[in-house]
Structures are given as C-alpha cells and as structure tokens.
Symmetry: C2
Subunit: 885 residues, 2 copies
C-alpha cells in the first residue's frame, strides 16, 4: 500500500461528520453525526464512523484492511474511551459498543450489526458490578456471544434458538425474560462451545468490522442492491457507537418512532416501544410492543422530549423521519434517524401537509414522493386485512388486483365480457391476437415471460392487472387445465385472483378494495402541473382508454396504435381478407368494409380528446401478425387434404400467403412505413377514415387536433413519399396539412436519429419510439432477450435494470438527444415527444426533461406517475441538483 | 420566371467550353469544346451546347423552356450561321445541324439524336444544287423526316422500315443505297404522310431540343440511370452542331475509332468505318463496316491524320479514347471523343502500357481502372466464342461460371464431391445448414433471393459461382425436378451450367475458360500495394480459403468465422449433442470431441497464414441454427408417436430443446457474446483449440499472430467478462494477452459505436461488422428486406443501391466514424478493421480510407479488387480529389 493510501483518513468521530458526508460516512453515520450536531452530544451516544472508502479499499485489497485503518480505529476508540470515561474490556467498568453497517442508501436488514461488543468473562463482572444488575450483565453477554457467533462467524441462528428453547424447557419457563442469571450464564457457555470465542475486545472489534465489510458482498445485500439498483462500488461504512441500554430495568426501554403515521401520513408521531428491552426486541416481534403514545403514561418526560425531537428532526431534514431511540434509566438517547420509507398514500399526505404547515414549499414537497410507488394508488388491491393462501408467485407485471373465472383464450374472454362475467385470461404467454382478450378480462396470468413480455407490456398499457412468469404453474390450454407439480389444481371456470402489484396468485375469494383518488393526491398532481415543463400525453387506442387517461390528466394522445383496432371481433376477418385478397379490386372491397369501422374508432377518440392533440400512428406491424400461424395452417391444410375437404383450395391459398409473408426477423422486416410504400391501399383507407372522422367530429362541434404519424422511418424520402400520400387523401376532403392536421414521424431507428436533420424537412413533429430504438440500438429483441439474457446480465453486472424499463441513457439516450438536436437544427420549433414504455418511467422522464423533449406519452394508468416525475425533474433542474445528464 | 433566371446563361458555343465544364455542358458538349480547343476549329464542326441546367429548369418548369432560352439559342444559331456562311433553311445553301443529347456521364443509346435538321422542300433543293448531288440531298431529307418522326414525335420505327421495304420491292432492289433520287423523294413524301411535318427549320430545332430534354425522363433513360446510379437531377445537355456528311460519295465516310484495341487493350488503334455513309450506318450494322486499318489503303492522308489525332487526344486526356469521325470529301472531322469503356483485361493492359509509355504515372494509370470489373478476371467464364441456348436468367449473384450434374441437397453435393463428381447445387433458397454443399459444389443456383440472399453472400464469400432468383424455374426438391411453365425440364443428375457473372443458366454443355492472372494484372496489383494505405485482409474459414486469399495478396485473415466449422460432416452431430446435452458433464464430453477438430482447423489456418495476423471470431450464430427445424422435429415426433417408436423419447427431448431455443428475431437474439456469457463452456472449448493450435504451430516453426475476436458486444462489461475468460484459458497454457495474442471485438451494434470509448478500454482492436451494423442501424433484416423492399425502394428512389452492397455512408458510415474516433480517443493506436461485404466494395473502401480504418477484410476473390480500390482511394486522396466524405 502506498504512502498516499496510508495517509487517507478512514475514520471520523461523530462530532466531525454531517449529513452532507453521506457518500463517505453512509446514511447512518452521516445522520448520527448530524443529530449529534443539532440535538447535542448528550442525546446521542458517542462513537465514530469507518468510511465507505475503507470498505471499498478492503474489497479491492482482497479482504485486507487498508494501511492505516487499524491505527485510526485505535485512536478513535481512545477518544471514545476518554469521553465515556470507560475502557473497552475494562474488568471494572467496561465500555460496550455497537458495530453497525451504514451504506449510502438504507438497505434495511441487509447488512450486519453486532451489539454489546466488549464483553468477556472479565468485563461481564465489571458490568454487573457497575450496574448492580447481574442478570442484565449476563443477558447482555449472552446476546453478544450469540450475535457474534451468528453475524461474524456465520453460525446458524437456529442452533442458538434451539439451545434457548432447551434451557427454557429445562427450567420450565416460556419467556426469555423469565430466564435467571444462572440460566443465562449457562446459555453463554453453551454458545461459546459452538465456536472459538475471541475474549480480547480488540479482536472482537476487528472481527465485527470485517464482518460488516463482508456483509456488503453477502448474498442478501447483492440481491437487494440488484433490485434497488445500488452500485456495488459504493461500499458500506461501519459505525462504532457506545452502547446504551434499554434493558436495564423498568425505567429503561427501546423503540422506533416515526415523525408522522407511517401508513397514512397523518401528522401525528407513530411507532412502538418496549420497556426493559433492547432495540432488536422491538423489531423481532418476540414481545408485543406498545404504541408510542403510551410513552406518556410510562414516562411523560421522555414522551415530551421524544415528540419534541421528532419535530426538530423533521423540520431540520424537511422530510418525515424514521428514528430509533433507547431510554436508559429514564434518559432518552437517539440512536438513528433517517427519511421514512412510506407507502404512496402516506407520501402524498405528507407532501400536502408539509406545504400546509409551511415546512416545505411545493417543489420540495413533491421531491419527497417516490413517483414509481404512486401507481399503487390507481388500482384495486387485495384487502390488506385479509390473509389468503398463495397458489403461486410470479412477476408483478402490471399493477392492480383482479379476480374472476379462468378462461384460456381471448375468444372465451370476449364471450364472457359480452355476458358480463368477470374472467381472468390464463395463458402460457400471449401474442398480438390475444389482445382482444385483455380488454375483456379483469386480469391476465401467464406462466412465461417477465416485465417486458408481450403480456406485461400490453397489460400495463391497458391498465389491466397482470402476473407473468408464474413458472410453477403448468398452463395447458388444450387440456383446459392448470397443473402444479404435475397435479391438476384448476380447470376452466374455476375462480382465481391475482395481484399484479405483488405478483401473487391465489384461489381464495379475496376481497378487492377499489382505489379512490384522494384529495391530497389531486392537490399534489395540481402542484406538479404548475411545476413541470414536460407535457404528459397518453398511449390510447380506444375511446375508453382516452376518457380514462383524460381523467388522469393526460394532455392528449401521444400514440394511438391503429393495429389494435384490427384485432377486434368485427374487424379481424376483414383484415385477413385484405391480406389474402387476389388483386387490387378484392383488396379494395375488403378495405372498404373496414373504412366505416376505422372512422368510428377515430370519431370516438376525437370526441374523448376534444380540444387536445391526438397522434395517430398508421399501421405498423408486419401483415403476418394478422394471419393464422404457419404451423396451424399447415396442419389444417394437411387435414383437409386427407379428408378431401372443400376448404382445401382456400387453405392452400392461405398457406401460400402465410408462407410468403413469413419473416426471419419480423422486428426488422416489412413493417411501418415500408408497408405504406409497398401496400399504399391500406394506409389510404386509414387516412380516409381519419379525415372523414375529423370532418364528422368538427361538424359535431368537436375541436380536433389530429397528428398523423408515420412509423419506422429511416430515410427522408420515405417520409416525403408518405407526405405526398397523406396530403393527397387530405386534399380530397379540402383538408390541408399544417392547417387542418400535422404530419410527423416516429424516430425509432438509429439511422433516423443520426439523420434527423434531413428527416425534419418532411416532418411537423417527431415522436421518439424508444422501445424499438432500444431494440435496434442494442440489437436486443425484446421478445427473445428477457427470457434468457436479462437475468444473467444482471447477475453478471452487465446492467442493473432492463434497458426496456429505464432508458439506456449513454447509448439510446445519446441517440434521442442527437435526434432532438438535429431535428431542431432544421426546424427550430419542431415538436418532440416520446412514446413507449420509457415515457412512464421516472428515471427516463428525468432524462427526457433534460433532453429538450416537449412531452412524454405513456399508458393511461402511468399518467399521474409521469406528471409527478416530470415535476420532480423540473424541481431538481431548478434547484441545480439535476442528475447531471 | 424571375429576371435572375432570365439572365442565366443557358447556351455556350463550342469555342467557349472546355472539359472542366462537364457538369454544365455534359460529357459530349465538354469534350467537343475541348477538341475544338486542342485540334483547332477546322477539325471539329462548329456548334453550341444548351446546358444541363436548362434541362433541369425545363423539367422543373413543367416542360416549359426556361425564360431566355429561345433567345439565346437564336443568337447562338446566328453566330453558327455567320461562321459557316450558311443559314438554316436557306433555299440556296442551307446550314444543316445535328441535335444530340449529352449527359454528364455517357448513357449510350439511352438519349435521342436528330440529324440533318434544317431540310425542307425548299432547302433540299439548295443542298442538291450546292453539292451537285440530288440523290444525296434527298437521301438526307428522307433520313431527317424519318428520324424526326421517330425521335421527336415517337412514331414507331417499324412503319418507316416497312415503307422502305415496300419501295425496295417495288423497285426490285435489295440495298438502301440502290434506291435512286425519285424513290427517295417518294419515300420522303410517304414519311411526311405519317405526321404533320414542320417545314419551318426554327420549329424543327425547337421540337428537337424539346425531344432531347424529354428523352431524359424516357423509360430507357430512367432504367439506365437506376442501374448505373446516375441522379435524375443531373439533366442532359443538348448539342447543336453543323452537319458534315460522310455520305457525299466515295471520298466521304464515317467511322468510330478507339485509341487502343477496345477488347485487349493492345496499343494499336482499333475501330470500324464505312465509306459513303453517315455515322448511324456504322453503328446500326446494316452494312458490314471495314477495319479502321484499311483507311490506309482508302485515303492514306486521312489515316495518318486520324491516328495522329488519336495519339493527341489520348495524351491530352490521359486515357484511352473512344471517338467518332466523319470524312467529307477527303476532309477529316472529329465529332466526338470520350474515355473508352473497356473490359477488365483491356483496362489493365492500358494502365500498364500507359505507364511504360510515360503517358501516365502509376497513380494516374490505376485511377483509369474500374475496380469492380476486375472480379471478372478471377473466375472461369463461358467460352465467349460459343453461343448457347438460355434456359433462364437470374441475378448475377457470385461471379464465375460452373457446370455439373444437378443435386438438390447439400448432402448429395458432399457425396458427389467425395466421388469427384462435378455438381451444381440447385435449391429454391439456401440456409446455414446448406453451407457444406457450397464447398462441395461447382456452383449454386436458386430460384429465390437476390444479391444479398444467403446463397449469394455465402457463394461470394467462398468464391463459388452462383445465380440466384432465377424465378421462372420452379425447383421442387421433394419431387427432384425443375419445372419451367409447369413442365418438367430437368431432373436430378441432368447437366446444367450457370454463369454467375451474367446470371445466365443453360443446359448446353458449354466450354468453360479458366482465368489466368496476367502479368499486367500482377504489375497493376504491385503498384496498388505501393500506393494504398489501407491493408487488405480476407474473410476465410478454411486453410484452402486462406491459401487462395494469400495468393491473391491478402495480408492476413480479418474474419475467421468459427461457426462454419461446425457444419462439416464430422462435426455437426457433435455440435447437436453439445446443444441437446442434459447437464454440464454431457455437454463437456461432447465438447471434448469437438476440441481436437477445432484445433486442427486452426493449425491449418495458422500454417497458411504464417507470419500474418489471423482474426478468429468466437461462435456467433444462435444455437438453434445448428438444430433441425422445429417443423421437421414436430413432424418426426408426431410420426414416432403414431408408430410408438423407440425414438420418441429422444425426439421429444429434441423438440423441447428446439422449442426453447426458438427466437422471434434471431438476428437480435441469443448470439455472439451473449452465447459466451450464457454458455461459457463452448467458448472455452474454442479458446482451448485456438491456444493449443497456437502452441503446436509455434513448435512447428510457424510465426503465429492470433487475434481473438468477440462478436456483438454492446457493453464494456461484456468484453471485460470475456477478456477474463480468454485470459484464464490462455494462462493455463502460459500464454499472455498482448504478448502472445490479442483480444478485440466486433463493433457491429449502434450502441457499441456510440460508446466505443468505453469498450476500447477492454479491446486491443476493433473490427467493424458493417453487415450487422447496417441491419441494426437501419432496422433492416437482410433476410427479409431484399425480397420485398429492395426493388420497390429503388423504384421509389428511396435509395439507388442496396445498403448491404455499398455502405450507407450518412447513417451507418457516421456510426463507423464515430466508433473509430471514440475508440482511438481511448487508445491512440487502436487497430481498426472492417469485415463484411462492404470490405470488398470499391465505393465503401473509399469511405473507409477516409475514416481512419487500418484494413478491410473481404472474401478471397475480392482481395485484388479491394487492393485496387484502396489504391484508387489513396490516389484520389493525394490528388485532393477525394469523394468529399
């Protein structure tokens, strides 16, 4: 190790730190230091923090303490001993310390803690003598030996618990607290027999510090970081703090306290405490804790002090606080404070109250909300007060709860909807042709696929609850049954309930609680609308979705996908006829039948979006998506051949067509504008429908702002050709581009981003299709990647989250920015939007805010989340605290 | 039209032009002006040129002459009349003119020409009187009326020919020249009855100019431009020139002359002439022309003058010339000169001779060669002296000719090769599993697919001749027959011959001529090696290909695709076992059997490339490519179920595996480095094979430079993981990266280009995989696009050439440059290569030369082309005449 490293400062006394030093001292260390500063040293037990950098150096140094660390710990311990007037391991009056982890972000329960460190056969006597409480001393020693063995040396907790159980049986008692001093000593000896207990407190301390460092790379911590996207190279700090004792008798106790109700957000402190207990007892649930309000009866002084401190801390931090405290013989110590994690309703309530109380301004208040969690407020949930038996767990693919009778096909779902029966669509996986079933079902359950599967994407887009990838279930559509471990557990028509917020599946008849948009939530959203600079539109394909999205505050439709309109019962047959048509005339006649239906779709949407812009994307997917599967047609034709059926001719024709439309890589095939150039008749029909609907809506007094969007453009010339087609159809109705409607394009291919300055010559607006842009820029087929690659890549730390959930800023984001800049270089006022899943993801929204985008578009149920996220981006931006894109 | 437009100069006298004004005056106009300057006005009939800009203005102005054009033409005509001392339409001594098109690039036969303009009933008499030759005058008049009707008014040529035929029968003569004055007058009157003949020479002139303008948008011209990639907005110039007459009797004549032999390039003028004829007679083939050397006997003076002029022109232009001349009563006039189009052997011969003669320096000489055409010198051809019956025409997919017995499967091809039988593989289309058949067959014929189909790409890569997309043939593999219009024309074993240079298919037993690399070609290539700055490597998967490429001058292997090694007869079964293996042990045992085979492959390649670098790409394609098709396995399993076969278990296992490896978009799926991260055992085996081969080759005294290449990298971390794996396997053999071998990556995804600075941290070299980069940047699946989209897009002018043939410079090229720049930003000396089809395309090579690339890699047979193209890029670069990338 170099001299420079040796000179690094690895250790800070609490008195030297502050909350600004979070990266170096971890959340706990920084907050304890801050509390020491604002509450005074007498309220916070003294101690010191070993920095996160020491942990990183330890990991990089192959688990060796970095040079200088041992010395600096010894010095800090010396200062602590001097201040406490006690020495670690002193047989007369020993100092005891806790050793706790503390990462930059809270990782509750994921890292290790050792309490009561410093006890051994000598010092336990000193402790007993000084406290005059032998039982307390031995209880502390027993706890320490147990914790050290478990946490530092990894001995199974069960072995200790079994031993406790045995001695309780032996003594004929049921509670730990009924064990007397002798029993506790015997237990301590038993535990010491489990391993080579280090008597020297210096060895104990070194071992505990190392255990905390090691716990950073433990299985639980790695998993937690993965889920919560915490970088591995942050490391954890280690806090060494003088012990205070809540288990010193009836005037002692421990507790946790929130500055406000942690479930509802109501402006009254909440929490639990236990007299004569250490903190771990409160959390472990071994004894039933008491409500914090009862402190008043127990020790009114402590109650008043604590409530005053909670107010002080909240005001100081500007956020709801989650604290730990200990009362030692009537004296209150604050051990920890941090911003409280809280459910969405509490977060919203706090934000509103904090503004009302003058604690925060609107921007600050909104910044305290986790936007992602708000989704939960917009969907039904399982009644949280009822327990139920879990049949299976899958991926929480689309939030909300649903229950109904099992159907296995989209057709059956549609039929059930017609009869007003509530059903859940249950399939191994879903495809485009199943989409009608999503509308008709209460929820969707699949055994395959994850958050980016077709089922998940469509369900989230429609706001239909979904659980995907419930892999223990074997869903046999042909047999009409669901098997678990080979045994049939469910058949068609059986009741099933799913919770897409948690990924739970049950067969119990769970009570569902409907969401209510609270006044507080409306208030918060209104503030967000004042603050944000990004508009929020919605992706909606039906008038119902449009109405719903408008209720949620959508400022227009950013993406109306016309292909979903062709999967409806009354349309699909006609679309198949269009594709199978022999010659132009037959095709046009089939298209003519679709025309009034398309027109009707658009009229409904225009009415719902009166006064707001509606972006309609012309047909995008390859035509074979509308035809039956090759495999099925082959089988049908084979059967017809054997049976010499009259259908054979028709089937062979279909087979030819299906074969000729097959593609090796449909994602990169004949879709989008390529369809428009190859088969202009389809686009012409769609345009005719749009323009007729526009005129009809106008005649009905509706204010229509239609934006025709051409998908998958690579070349300026493609858009020039399409502009010609669109303007020609419009001109037949005396409609003029730029005056009566706009023409724009999706920017969803890397080439389009790179040459957006050329394409902008033909475009009135751009909408970045970041889903397909991610697929092409990364060469990742969403359909194929997530099954095999995603998990492995997260495990191997290639990325920490699917690029389909949160925009890959360095790569795909770079293309978006390039496209935005080049587009505006050609047309200064070019309107820029984003449609696709990323438009509803808070982190991605922050990126778009900083990229000159005018609006994001997301599914109706994500609109409120997007409004909040957009406001937060603006607040961070104005506060100069941007993510630094 | 604005005053500015009115002030535009639309007309230039020949005396005012020069060859530098080609864009404005067209090739013909610029060259005639140049000739006037260097040969003197007495050698070149006077005239003027209407600019290409006038044509463009005419097209943009909806076929109206731009303001000022009429006036400027009248003025120029006045000057011409003054110089000639004759007036257009003068009944005493009329001026006659020709009106010819002349685009920026020569478009032979595609645009229109009118001769003898200015004749009418009055002036024909003057012409007769002045020349004393009534027959000549009426022959000229007859020709003019015929040409004007045909060219300007679009009357079918056959009507005129039929009338000539009729009058010849009537007069009992067989030759046109035997028709007397009266007959010619009668013919003229007959022709004038076909349409409303404009007597006024001013009307004639205006009509002819307009006809030339219109011919620019004619069907033939549009088609020619499409094929030759000439932009529509160039327009054509119009040349109006005083007529001189080769048909004035026995001391007159017309001819075409090349400054050197136009077929062989030998340094002797060649060409044809006809006494007493106009130029059109020489070209039309109505009379058999005489060799130009016979001029010496006919008129020695003219012979000497012409040969001297040819030398002067060639020296002046620095290139072989293709001229037209007319002799009028013993006086030689030069009508036109241009650089001669010539076949590859003549181009090479000229280049070498021109340097020898001191006419050009090496760089100038090399610049005269069309690199693309050189391919023809490296493959067998049909004997050009034999005629044969064409069975079908397809796409000239891979150059060279081949013949052999028809086989329909790769297996049969392999079996035939084992028996030394020559076969041609005939299939509707080909797939990866057919590749073994390419090696075994003489050539490949398919009924589907174009230049970028699998068959075409693999065939070109292997240098196997191929004709694809011979759509009139119905190839029925099951029936073992080939049908044409429903009738069986060929069966397995029948003889077939294909010419992949022309796309021709025949059943005749054509004689094939083997290619010989001439001394001149070797000389040219040696010069290219002196001049070029891009290295040229080859894509080679076998020792045979490596040896062949080295003969062609490859400086190493830029891409050795290891997947092809697993399709060989002795490997495929083992690879299938690897993929189907249950558990790690079984997989490793199957891999262990592949290891010595891989090692052997690499040893052979290292030996062939002794002293040169060899870039080995680890396995790239998705694993399902090695397995049977889902459809086939399903059918087999169904059969086995019915027959209760013992194979059922195995088949169902295979079926499961095939199903689980299916991908919706395999191009964007589990391939490349993703395989390496998911299934490291396969890469480990390959690396083991590489390193063992390296050691074995070293022991045998071979100088090995191996570069291990990781495909499809998106993230720096992917390459970091793979570097770890590679170095670990290497270390087991005491081999060290950077010393014993290099580690690099293919840059073939847009993200990799955008973040090449990050990826470069882990890479010793980059190789741009422009095929896949084109697919992802453009969102174009090569397999799917060309069948449907390519032709339509060329027709609709979205692009003029497939982006898979010539790099899409603005989009894909931008990514390549970004990747190159960012990579070198991190590592100044980072070696940069290009592999993929574009590495052998001259235009793309020019782009790479200007993009800081170190080497291109192409198929063995493209290596000489690439050497020449690279030298030409360097010459243009040094001459400051770069393509302006």
């Amino acid at each position: 190790m170099s001299e420079a490293a040796a000179a690094t400062r690895w250790v800070y006394d609490f008195a030297d730190g502050s909350r600004e030093m979070r990266d170096l001292l971890g959340g706990k260390g920084a907050n304890v230091a801050e509390m020491t500063r604002i509450l005074g040293a007498e309220r916070v037990p003294a101690g010191f923090t070993i920095t996160t950098e020491a942990c990183v150096a330890y990991m990089q140094g192959d688990k060796a303490f970095p040079d200088g660390l041992d010395g600096q710990v010894a010095e800090a311990l010396g200062r602590l001993e001097a201040a406490a007037g006690k020495r670690l391991g002193d047989p007369e009056d020993p100092l005891l310390v806790s050793v706790r982890s503390g990462a930059r972000e809270s990782m509750p329960g994921m890292l290790d803690t050792v309490l009561n460190l410093g006890l051994n056969d000598a010092s336990v006597a000193g402790l007993a003598a000084r406290t005059g409480n032998e039982r307390f001393a031995w209880d502390s020693y027993r706890r320490f030996v147990q914790m050290y063995g478990n946490v530092v040396l990894g001995i199974e907790g069960e072995r200790f618990e079994d031993a406790i159980q045995a001695i309780k049986q032996d003594r004929g008692v049921t509670e730990d607290t009924d064990l007397d001093r002798a029993a506790l000593e015997e237990l301590t000896r038993t535990f010491q027999g489990f391993y080579d207990f280090p008597s020297d407190p210096q060895d104990q301390l070194r071992g505990a510090i190392q255990a905390v460092f090691d716990s950073w790379m433990g299985r639980r911590a790695v998993e937690y970081r993965r889920i919560n996207r915490i970088p591995e190279d942050w490391g954890t700090a280690v806090n060494v703090q003088q012990m205070v004792f809540g288990n010193k008798g009836d005037t002692s106790g421990s507790g946790v306290a929130f500055s406000r109700d942690e479930v509802t957000g109501e402006p009254e402190p909440s929490g639990d405490f236990l007299p004569n207990a250490q903190g771990e007892d409160v959390v472990s649930g071994v004894r039933t804790p008491r409500d914090i309000r009862e402190l008043k009866d127990w020790q009114p002084e402590v109650h008043a002090q604590l409530f005053e401190i909670l107010r002080t801390l909240e005001a100081h931090y500007g956020d709801m606080q989650d604290t730990e405290f200990t009362v030692e013989e009537g004296r209150l110590y604050m051990l920890q404070t941090r911003n409280a994690k809280r459910p969405a309703q509490a977060a919203v309530r706090f934000a509103v109250d904090a503004v009302g109380e003058g604690l925060l301004d609107k921007g600050q208040a909104i910044a305290t909300i986790e936007a992602e969690k708000l989704d939960a407020l917009l969907h039904p949930t399982f009644d949280p007060d009822v327990t139920y038996e879990v049949l299976a767990r899958g991926v929480a693919a689309s939030p909300g709860a649903a229950k109904g009778a099992i159907v296995f096909t989209a057709e059956d779902a549609v039929a059930a909807a017609a009869d007003d029966r509530a059903v859940v669509l249950v399939r191994p996986f879903t495809e485009a042709e199943d989409v009608a079933g999503f509308h008709a079902a209460q929820g969707v359950l699949t055994s395959e696929g994850g958050k980016a599967s077709h089922a998940a994407l469509v369900a989230r887009g429609m706001g239909v609850p979904a659980v995907t990838g419930a892999g223990t279930l074997e869903i046999d559509v042909r047999a009409g049954e669901v098997r678990l471990d080979g045994a049939v557990v469910l058949r068609e028509g059986d009741l099933i309930a799913i919770d897409g917020t948690t990924g739970t599946v049950t067969t119990d008849d769970v009570v569902l609680i409907d969401p209510v948009m609270s006044d507080e939530f409306r208030t918060v959203l209104a503030w967000c609308d004042e603050l944000r600079r990004l508009d929020v539109r919605t992706n909606a394909d039906t008038p119902e979705d449009a109405v719903k999205a408008r209720e949620f505050g959508a400022q227009g439709i950013g993406l109306c996908r016309t292909e979903h309109m062709f999967f409806g019962e009354d349309r699909h047959d006609k679309m198949v006829r269009v594709i199978l048509a022999d010659g132009d005339e037959e095709r046009r006649s089939a298209l003519a039948e679709l025309l009034p239906l398309q027109q009707g779709d658009f009229e409904g949407i225009f009415a719902a979006m009166d006064g707001l812009p509606v972006t309609i994307r012309l047909l995008d997917p390859p035509l074979h998506e509308f035809l039956p599967k090759l495999h099925d047609v082959e089988a049908q034709a084979e059967r017809a051949r054997i049976e010499r059926s009259d259908d054979l001719d028709h089937l062979e024709h279909t087979l030819d067509r299906v074969r000729s439309l097959q593609e090796v890589n449909p994602m990169l095939g004949t879709r989008g504008v390529r369809l428009g150039i190859l088969y202009p008749a389809i686009y012409e029909m769609q345009l005719e429908g749009i323009f007729r609907a526009l005129l009809a809506a106008r005649a009905a007094g509706t204010d229509v702002h239609v934006e025709v969007m051409v998908p998958l453009v690579d070349y300026e010339r493609e858009l020039e050709l399409l502009r010609g087609l669109i303007e020609r159809v419009g001109a037949a109705h005396d409609l003029v581009a730029g005056r009566d409607y706009l023409i724009g394009t999706m920017i969803e291919l890397p080439r389009a981003c790179l040459l957006a300055d050329w394409i902008a010559h033909e475009a009135d607006f751009f909408s970045f299709g970041t889903n397909d842009l991610t697929q092409t820029a990364l060469g990742f087929s969403r359909d194929d990647i997530e099954g095999r690659i995603l998990a492995r890549y997260i495990e191997m730390k290639v990325f920490d989250r699917s690029p389909f959930e949160t925009l890959d800023a360095p790569g795909v984001g770079q293309l978006v920015r390039m496209g935005a800049w080049l587009g505006r270089k050609t047309k200064a006022g070019l309107k820029l939007g984003v449609c696709g899943e990323h438009g509803g993801d808070p982190d991605s929204i922050d990126f778009f805010h900083h990229s000159g985008i005018d609006y994001v578009s997301c599914s109706p149920y994500r609109v409120p989340v997007a409004r909040v996220a957009a406001a937060q981006a603006a607040v961070r931006d104005d506060g100069g605290d941007g993510a630094g894109w």
